[in-house]
């Protein structure tokens, strides 16, 4: 039995609006689960159900071996960090951290010890007497995490905790959350719409869309073997190149150009019922060479450590991601190359992976 299992969760409003259409997930103790997807995919609704702030139309949620589906939040032994931090403005930092313990009638000495322990862990000892209004965004974020840590819960929930921070602070806090998890080993569910957060933090990622889990797996699985076209395009930046191709029985071609495939994929494509396929290629899989698919450079975007180059080819626009600086000019004719085993194949109608 996992630390958290979500079994057949459905959520329906007014019998017509289906928010969640059957979610099944299970993670082991100490794992870091990411729920990621575009807005409206149902990830926050699912988190609220785990938190006890919302209830499913059908299905069950188990924490440990306890069915908590209809249990009030306070009896679930969980703690949550909110997007807006939701610190109590009328209380000092120390009171904020201790509030949950105070409500649970933990003796004062124990409460103070917990505040000290958490403050040391998050380096907020010097802020304990301040009010939330006097703190910066990063400090509020730390206090919100401290409040969640104080009770030493069985399950940690994060609802897009970094989206109110600026880019630099976001990277810092992301690293802190990761270190914190490595140290405490508390089972965590983390909701985000940011695929970088998903990839860097998660032990397991559930990619969601339209109330369904599109793929559930480790970051490596999701990146290297996306289960469908949506996952392939959602994870990774710049997004995966997609080329519409026809299966010819012994390979695929686009606009008459034959594209390479690994043997296993060629076999799968040959057996697949439909001939309309999509050929996917990650930008970093493409390199410039003397030979290969010819095309015209239409845009160059240097980021510093690497450069994104957009090339108009006979099969369509392709984006390549090359290390360092690209010594080329817009308008030049270039040749693109990639190795056959880097390609992904999807069914064009259903979007599902082929092979």
């Amino acid at each position: 039995m996992g630390a958290l299992s979500i079994q057949g969760i459905h959520k329906t409003f007014n019998q017509t609006t289906h928010i969640l259409k059957g979610i099944d997930l299970e993670i082991e103790a100490g794992e870091f689960l990411i729920l990621v997807g575009p807005s409206g995919c149902g990830k926050s609704t699912l988190l609220n159900m785990i938190a006890g702030l919302d209830h499913p139309t059908s299905g069950n949620i188990l924490i440990g071996d306890r069915d908590v589906t209809y249990l009030p939040s306070k009896d679930r032994d969980i703690a949550m960090v909110f997007q807006s931090y939701a610190l109590y403005p009328n209380m000092s930092v120390a009171q904020n951290i201790a509030f949950g313990l105070e409500i649970r009638k933990v003796p004062k000495a124990e409460r103070e010890a917990a505040v000290q322990r958490v403050a040391a862990m998050l380096q907020i000892g010097h802020l304990l007497d301040r009010k939330p209004g006097q703190l910066s965004g990063g400090q509020r974020q730390r206090v919100a995490m401290g409040r969640a840590l104080a009770r030493d819960p069985k399950l940690f929930l994060f609802d897009e905790p970094l989206s109110n921070l600026d880019a630099k602070l976001r990277v810092e806090m992301r690293a802190e959350i990761k270190q914190l998890h490595q140290r405490t080993k508390t089972t965590t569910v983390y909701v985000t719409h940011d695929q970088v957060e998903a990839m860097t933090l998660g032990d397991r990622i559930a990619v969601m869309k339209d109330g369904l889990v599109q793929q559930f797996g480790t970051p490596a699985e999701i990146y290297t073997r996306p289960a469908n076209r949506f996952v392939a395009e959602f994870i990774g930046s710049p997004a995966m190149n997609m080329v519409d191709v026809q299966s010819t029985g012994h390979g695929v071609n686009a606009q008459g150009v034959a594209l390479q495939l690994a043997d296993a994929q060629r076999a799968a494509a040959a057996q697949h019922s439909a001939n309309d396929l999509v050929y996917g290629l990650r930008p970093e899989a493409i390199s410039f060479a003397d030979q290969g698919v010819p095309g015209q450079l239409s845009m160059i975007e240097p980021t510093g450590p690497e450069t994104y180059a957009t090339v108009d080819t006979a099969v369509g626009k392709l984006t390549a991601r090359v290390p360092g600086v690209l010594h080329a000019r817009v308008g030049e004719t270039v040749h693109l190359q990639w190795s056959a085993d880097q390609a992904h194949l999807f069914d064009r109608a259903s979007g599902m992976r082929v092979g």
Binding site: S73, K74, I78, Q83, S84, A86, N90, F99, G100, I103
Partner: protein
């Protein structure tokens, strides 16, 4: 430079004129209340009292006739205090609980309920006079200070609810959720989180209710009993009790006595009032 000065001069002149215009009645009331009967009779409304005396004030307070009885405004004043303080506190508390529920614990139909409550804010008071006296009769508290208190509480709930509900809508929902996860109950969240964040709206509502209930005449004259008449009714009786001579100085002193408590509340809490009315712009 000169033109700007002239501009200023005209502006200040006009403002001063308006200030005088509006303060003149207060000035007349104050000086008249300090004059003796002879000077009042001489007829110069604006002159300063030649021999200032507080005798009209003490007469208005304790010996002026309000109908057959001649105990001044004093008993009415205490009736009002006795009735106003609990009515203000209870209607404010109920309003804040209503607002808390209608904004943070929405249920099926809560918006409709709120919409109906809004009718109460705009409903003319006269409409409820008959049904209300019927209800007070059934409850057995007609013509008593309790009945008057109950009327003011019920009549105040729509506006206090409106104030608190609109203020609490601005409090982030996540605050309530965080407190729920921390294990706090409905009432713990209310007393520990919501009420401490309500100071501006509490002040606004308290002032609003105090002024309304203290100054109310209609409910006071309709629903009070012989020994529970509020100060507005007392003032009316005092001014309308005819003797051979109209004692304007006593009338003025009585009117000032009736107005002092609300004046006092505005002076003490006025800055919170303005702050509270504009507090919607500030995030919790």
């Amino acid at each position: 430079m000169n033109r700007i000065n002239l501009h200023r001069l005209v502006l200040w002149g006009i403002l001063l004129l308006f200030a005088l215009w509006f303060l003149a009645p207060l000035y007349v009331m104050v000086v008249t209340s300090l004059k003796d009967a002879d000077q009042v009779r001489s007829g110069n409304l604006l002159s300063l009292p030649t021999a200032p005396t507080l005798s009209s004030w003490s007469k208005a307070w304790s010996t002026a006739c309000t109908g057959v009885e001649c105990n001044g405004l004093q008993p009415f004043f205490w009736n009002s205090v006795l009735m106003v303080v609990p009515a203000v506190l209870v209607s404010t508390l109920l309003g804040s609980i209503n607002g808390y529920v209608l904004s943070k614990w929405k249920f099926r139909g809560s918006e409709t309920m709120f919409a109906f409550m809004l009718f109460g804010v705009f409903m003319p008071m006269q409409v409820v006079l008959l049904p209300m006296s019927q209800v007070l009769g059934w409850l057995g508290i007609a013509s008593s200070v309790w009945g008057l208190m109950a009327v003011h509480i019920v009549a105040g709930i729509p506006s206090t609810t409106l104030f608190f509900r609109n203020y609490y809508v601005g409090l982030p929902d996540e605050l309530i959720k965080a407190a729920q996860l921390d294990g706090a109950s409905f009432w713990q969240i209310f007393w520990r989180i919501v009420i401490p964040l309500s100071t501006p709206i509490l002040v606004v509502t308290l002032i609003w209710q105090f002024t309304n209930i203290w100054n109310d005449f209609l409910y006071g004259v309709v629903f009070s009993g012989a020994d529970s008449k509020p100060i507005t009714v007392g003032l009316n009786n005092l001014a309308n009790t005819s003797s051979s001579v109209k004692e304007y100085n006593v009338d003025m002193a009585a009117a000032l006595i009736a107005a002092l408590p609300t004046l006092f509340v505005y002076v003490v809490a006025g800055k919170y009032f303005v702050r509270g009315l504009t507090a919607g712009a500030v995030k919790g």
